[in-house]
């Protein structure tokens, strides 16, 4: 049994490595894997190749890997905490909350006559605003779930948050100058390619910290599978666990949303894909497998978003939705059957 898991994990790792190279090779300029490889290690004959690899392809691929991993880890821990197979950062409105935070920052600052665009604190401000927005939604959801146990009601509520956030953003857009609106609209489409090499200095450590918290929560998450009462009688500090899950979800989903825009359904779908592959509920398997698979799936989505033609890139949002929604429908059909 454990051996099967090891083989599966190795196979997924190899697939992720291959996808990472393939993702680096996709883009407007045609580059071979060999050129990419040399560019990565500074051995490229052509300086422009080195520049493209280091400033466009590498940040894009790293961002895809990290955002997929981050959203999947966040989705897995939310599904376990809320005991809801359909929970995820997008569906429960956490991404919407982060978007609202970003909108307030991107659209609100120009309204106040402050230009954050291109400044050193611009990226940090956007990330901070996304965290605050994500945290606000999580606090509301938590407060609601202590009163309402019906999982469908919580989901509907998450959708309401999403709509409310969209409405507020639209009001902001209506009031904002054209330039600010345009940069916001581009952001909402979800883009992995817009992340700069310098942004990685924030993205990489923050996501790493969020993932580290998720991994540290493996045992508490396993205990939560039996429900909060059982978990507490087995010695779990429920408040600390909730706080940890909150913190890591805010860091993971909030940061990804700040840099890449709202990316839907990855966080919800990947844990289910992993459960289907491994047929386990143990987070010692599910957490690392979700992180890996999420990274891989996001790479795949990014490659797919660039397939139509070399110059045209689809918003990555549309691709994740097309991949994620069938998984969600499958989950709904299955849970309805067993309930």
């Amino acid at each position: 049994m454990k051996k099967r898991n090891g083989i599966l994990m190795l196979a997924i790792s190899v697939a992720v490595a291959v996808l990472a190279l393939a993702d680096m090779a996709t883009g407007a300029a045609r580059l071979s894997i060999a050129e990419i490889w040399r560019g990565l290690w500074g051995q490229a004959a052509d300086e422009s190749v080195r520049y493209i690899v280091m400033h466009f392809r590498l940040p894009k691929t790293v961002t895809a890997l990290l955002s997929g991993a981050a959203l999947s880890a966040a989705g897995l821990q939310m599904q376990t905490l809320f005991r809801n197979p359909l929970a995820g950062p997008y569906v429960l409105g956490v991404s919407s909350g982060a978007s609202l935070g970003v909108a307030a920052f991107v659209l609100g600052m120009p309204l106040l006559g402050i230009s954050a665009h291109g400044t050193w604190w611009g990226a940090i401000g956007m990330v901070g605003a996304a965290w605050i927005g994500a945290a606000a939604i999580l606090v509301i959801i938590m407060a609601v779930t202590t009163r309402i146990k019906d999982i469908m009601a919580v989901l509907i509520l998450g959708m309401m948050f999403g709509s409310a956030a969209t409405a507020v953003v639209e009001i902001l857009q209506y009031m904002s100058p054209e330039g600010a609106v345009k940069s916001y609209v581009v952001w909402t489409m979800g883009s992995l390619g817009g992340v700069l090499l310098s942004d990685l200095r924030i993205l990489v450590p923050v996501i790493a910290a969020g993932l580290a918290i998720s991994i540290a929560l493996i045992k508490p998450l396993n205990m939560l599978l039996l429900g909060e009462n059982y978990a507490r009688t087995m010695g779990l500090d429920i408040k600390a666990t909730r706080l940890g899950i909150f913190l890591s979800t805010i860091l993971l989903a909030g940061t990804v949303t700040a840099f890449c825009g709202p990316i839907g359904f990855i966080g919800l779908a990947v844990p289910h894909i992993v459960r289907m592959i491994f047929r386990e509920a143990d987070h010692r398997t599910l957490m690392p497998a979700s992180i890996l698979t999420g990274g891989g799936l996001m790479l795949l989505c990014d490659i797919a978003s660039q397939l139509p033609s070399g110059d045209l890139t689809l918003p990555v949002n549309t691709v994740t939705a097309l991949i994620g929604i069938p998984v969600i429908i499958a989950v709904i059909l299955r849970t309805r059957k067993t309930a």
């Binding site: 010695g235 459960r275 067993t338």
Partner: protein, 260 residues
């Protein structure tokens, strides 16, 4: 019992209830080592709430509880988890969750940060599964089990937690008659042979009277406690049926229709 009884769980003028409803007031009883105790009473009298309060899942309105002389509210979750295990009525039917994983989680107070089981932990898990007769189910998933099987797994998890005190909230509710007796026999044996303090709530009067050493009864906001024989002899059990057409018959140890 001639020697002084040492109570492991002691209620000190314990008052339980909710904001708008008082369940009982000033309870002063104790549950002893090696005793198998049934907690009886009609619906809504506070049996579950009492068990939840002893398991530190709910707070009392007044008074406090000591375990081995130490106040429960001064202990950490971890310390409590090594003293008290609890089998609740919560249903655990998670997909893909294996029986051996559930029982293994019972070892959570003793395992490392990621929950790896040592040889000793594994032996405890196996023993617990064997005791409840579920050893052949260890690789099965929780959502494929029957209610009775799931109940046994949850009891095995409590056994794996290896605590001197085990509390069970209606552990026999979903079980058929042979299963009810089997589980109760097992619990009684654990109380007597390993000196554990085991308290379970139940509506099965006949099983409680037949199997238990002591009975705690909540009726009309009052606590009655004593050995089974005592409670039968002094007519306490009849209070349960006070305003019904039923009566407790001490001779047959069963319930019968009250004669007009």
């Amino acid at each position: 019992m001639e020697y002084e009884r040492i109570n492991t769980v002691q209620l000190h003028s314990l008052t339980l209830g909710y904001r708008d409803r008082l369940l009982f007031e000033g309870a002063e009883i104790g549950f002893g080592w090696g005793e198998f105790t049934a907690l009886i009473g009609r619906n809504g009298t506070g049996k579950s709430t009492l068990l939840r309060t002893i398991a530190a899942l709910a707070r009392p309105l007044g008074g406090y509880i000591t375990v081995e002389g130490r106040r429960l509210d001064a202990m950490t979750r971890r310390e409590i988890a090594e003293l008290i295990s609890f089998v609740s009525t919560d249903e655990v039917r998670v997909e893909n969750l294996k029986v051996s994983d559930v029982v293994g989680l019972g070892r959570a107070p003793y395992t490392n940060w990621v929950g790896s089981l040592t040889e000793r932990d594994r032996a405890q898990v196996e023993r617990a599964l064997r005791l409840v007769g579920m050893e052949s189910f260890s690789g099965k998933s929780m959502d494929t089990l029957s209610d009775g099987e799931r109940q046994r797994v949850m009891i095995a998890r409590a056994l794996a937690q290896d605590t001197p005190i085990i509390l069970l909230d209606e552990p026999t509710a979903f079980l058929d008659l042979p299963n009810k007796y089997e589980i109760c026999l097992l619990l009684r044996e654990l109380a007597h042979k390993e000196g554990k303090c085991i308290v379970f709530s139940t509506h099965d009067m006949s099983i409680a009277l037949e199997m238990c050493d002591t009975i705690a009864m909540i009726e009309g906001g009052r606590f009655y406690y004593g050995t089974t024989e005592m409670l039968i002899a002094d007519g306490t059990l009849d209070r349960l049926f006070a305003d019904t057409a039923l009566a407790f018959d001490p001779a047959t140890r069963n319930v019968r229709l009250r004669h007009g």
